[in-house]
Symmetry: C2
Subunit: 536 residues, 2 copies
């Protein structure tokens, strides 16, 4: 372009000038003079989203393919942080999900240089020491992004809770979890590179979040599904010690990992599928992503078949970087954990439209169809555990996953632990499409206090749904109180810690409350039929 050099000089000067004003003096919603913030590497320019200072796509690390993350080089002048950064590449998805209306997605530019994070904060004062909540996205270890859910926007939670909200992108699938340790020291942790990114992100947050008004000594990680698995994995990583203070694990449970020999076989097979040998790792680093993900996904299936196991992209238990058990330090980390009523058995998954119109006969027939000889016992138990629900809802209750994933992990977390754990069940039926029972992910719209933002509002029953509005207050407050103090209780909604003897659970629903749910027998009866075994 014409005169580029001169203009760029002027821009840098202007940016430095803007930087010297600092963010604190910028008027709310003033897009003309956006706020800036200083981090170790230089100055960032964000923007105001109404009253919330917003910095998007902030780089926290760089890494070569399969390499460990290292610090970002400092930059001169001002770096824009006004748009989401690229997200990690994933295998092509070619169909819009049937859950799209009730769990709206965002897709984005993909690039394996995806180590960036997003920050929402009410002020940029270094002394503000607000609690920091770091959201770690789901999608197993292979899919998703920090912005995949339309509900993942942190602005409203930051504003409602006077807290600093951060969300993180990191390497996934073959880019984050291919075990090349056999091919050189520099690939020692390539099997867990995606986890290494998360640790690098948390380290960057600890080092820099004070510039965004956050308290580096009070960091809570929260994640759902794969995000929860990542948090549970970090609790088994010695190097994660001190990087966060509290943990919230949503709709996640029994963890599965990769054994080193399995992962190494997958890497070997991946090379083979690409026509490469063990001397050609440099070439492997240049293979186009589409070819790489195809070859390695095939390798996962081939090795899985050979070994008679189901393999997927997951962290590898090398017992050094990732260990089999929770680390000692993990015992001191308070934890909240819970699941939702239907998870993968919602009305949108196994039928929709008119369960609330079923006659008694239809309900009985459907339960019989679903649960066979256990149908009557399940109906009886369901009525005890959920007296407020219709019997038809038993058809959509994912008791098997509840049984298998929440409690064993909570119990395991309590072994030799000093910190309390808290259990919840989100069971609100959204008034959508004839009644939509709570599905995997759906609590997040409430946790993020986003039930009325566009697109998400369709999933929660439309603007002005009083119950949804109350629920988002209750849930966001519980999450925020836990982040602030380690106790998720709030006025009018005491939340007792879960113990192996007294399995207190907070139910979020038409009427929320904490009680001993007594759902073990019900869950067991469903599991007998469904044999889910491993939840996610």
């Amino acid at each position: 372009m014409i005169g580029k050099k001169r203009i760029l000089g002027a821009v840098l000067a202007a940016n430095m000038l803007a930087a010297s004003f600092g963010g604190g003096q910028v008027l709310a919603a003033d897009m003309m003079n956006p706020p800036t913030a200083e981090v170790e590497q230089g100055t960032l320019r964000g923007f105001m989203d109404e009253d919330i200072y917003t910095f998007l796509g902030v780089p926290y690390a760089t890494a070569e393919r399969f390499g460990m993350p290292h610090e970002v080089e400092p930059w001169e002048g001002v770096r824009d942080a006004q748009a989401y950064g690229p997200v990690c590449p994933i295998a092509d998805q070619t169909a819009v999900g049937t859950d799209e209306l009730v769990w709206p997605h965002r897709y984005w530019i993909q690039n394996e240089n995806c180590q960036n994070l997003n920050i929402w904060t009410p002020e940029l004062n270094e002394d503000a020491k607000k609690p920091v909540m770091v959201f770690i996205h789901g999608g197993g270890f292979k899919n998703g992004s920090s912005i995949e859910g339309a509900a993942y926007d942190g602005k409203n939670l930051s504003e409602y809770g006077d807290a600093v909200i951060v969300s993180v992108n990191h390497r996934l699938n073959v880019l984050g979890f291919l075990d090349l340790s056999a091919y050189g020291e520099e690939y020692e942790n390539s099997a867990n590179a995606g986890m290494a990114d998360l640790l690098a992100a948390l380290q960057w947050i600890k080092n820099n979040i004070a510039s965004f008004g956050g308290d580096p000594e009070n960091i809570t990680v929260f994640g759902q599904s794969g995000g929860g698995m990542k948090i549970l994995t970090m609790l088994q990583m010695p190097e994660a010690e001190g990087l966060f203070d509290k943990a919230i694990v949503e709709s996640t449970g029994t963890m599965r990992f990769v054994e080193p020999e399995q992962g190494q076989m997958v890497a070997e097979k991946t090379l083979e599928n690409l026509g490469l040998d063990e001397t050609q790792i440099e070439e492997l680093k240049e293979v186009p992503y589409h070819d790489l993900i195809e070859a390695s996904t095939d390798a996962l299936a081939e090795v899985g078949e050979e070994l008679g196991v189901s393999l997927d992209w997951r962290p590898t238990l090398d017992e050094t970087y990732v260990c089999s058990d929770f680390c000692d330090w993990a015992g001191e980390v308070p934890m909240m954990m819970g699941s939702v009523f239907s998870e993968f058995k919602s009305t949108i998954h196994v039928g929709d439209g008119r369960k609330n119109e079923w006659t008694e006969e239809e309900t009985a027939a459907n339960l019989k169809d679903a649960y066979g000889d256990n149908a009557e016992a399940i109906a009886e138990e369901f009525a005890k555990v959920f007296p407020d629900k219709k019997l038809a809802d038993a058809y959509f209750y994912d008791g098997a996953r509840r049984l298998l994933v929440v409690e064993p992990t909570l119990d395991r977390k309590l072994e030799n632990a000093s910190a309390p754990v808290y259990s919840y069940l989100f069971s609100y039926e959204a008034p959508v499409n004839g009644g939509t029972t709570a599905l995997h992910c759906s609590e997040l719209s409430y946790v993020f206090h986003n039930v009325e933002i566009p697109v998400v509002a369709r999933a929660t029953g439309g603007s002005g749904n009083e119950t949804a509005l109350r629920l988002q207050d209750e849930m966001a407050t519980a999450w925020l109180n836990f982040a602030k103090t380690g106790d998720p209780s709030q006025e009018g909604l005491e939340w007792k810690a879960y113990t192996t003897d007294e399995k207190y659970t907070m139910r979020f629903d038409e009427k929320s409350g904490c009680s001993i749910l007594g759902d073990e027998k019900l869950n067991q009866l469903i599991e007998e039929v469904e044999q889910v075994r491993v939840g996610y």
Copy 2:
């Protein structure tokens, strides 16, 4: 899943029941009982976006790869139209654009079966006969989608204008424009398959839009950039006759097409690059998209180099399906056409931050840097044409594109024409990042009456920007009035038709108004330096 068969039966029954209620009786914003609509192929279930009936991802055609589109098979029961359908695959994009803040994007699930459209309407009454506005997206003929711009959401325009808004996905790039006509009769129009999709969409709209309250005899197409090119192309297609009644062409101009021999060379080279020969077209239809787009994009470059021309995915002038000149019927189609102040020369493209702080000396130096010996004459002309602007803005005025693309097309359109044409220039500087001059795409946020929706509001200066609010009223009203009556005038803002003698142009800005702009000399002076030659 358990009992799937039985449940599905129940669902179908429920859906048929819901369908029989009809959409008109559904309460606004009632997600519990979503509206349904009848089309030729069956029943669709949409949803209410506040008071607007919304049907997304509605299939209008199906096609095999490289084949002509044909009608969708009828379905039984109710088909969900509650989420956007997949968009056409495009080549990987790996960087977030520098224009992201000021022109926010949406990306989506890609699938070559992308023949679907979206409908927003205030009512479902067959007798309502509201004007229909069909938005055709940009991105040349190779990129983009019906939802790429966050501003493309049709709900607000539908509500503000009491009109039916439709947006369309169709095949792009190699999927829509590879010329396989040499390899079999069934590929006769494969070089223009993407255009054939658009015709199929318009035919579907004509046949079905009455069910959504639309008037099939009053259809206006509007498109920007590539969307405008598609509209200009349709005006050169005999088969497009009668499919639309008015046309709005935004930021588009001098058209370039592919010659048959060029396109056939590209197809031949594509086969060669994939190791296929002319007997293997069936294999070509099975090649994974990533390989196909890579091989064919390489072929474009290789053939272009061989011929010494710049080739891209564009329609082919076969003089049968697509002709060199506007069709006779096109003369009867009233047209609006315009561009924006900076197009590809905005503050975000050639510098940003502080042009509004430039001293007189800096401005002079920058203009000299940009325009050399023409700088002084340009400054003088600029002050005459844009007395309301700062001289610094001359640096960011894309006069060359304005010269080359708008007027020749308007003049060409007027030859032997009975219908009027209208010209506009959108020149509003958004109060963003120190002042952002109007860039390619930016008028669409105003046209769609979306300046205050989330994300877009950041681009237009934040919620409550009075000028942006007035401008969106003026622009949406002009577009709607043109769609309703063929005359874009409104109370207080008369818009005179452009003629070759009196080049009336509506300027949308801090103060909007219609006048003879007299910008030819200014544009010519800039073109002398920049030699843009072809605009888009």
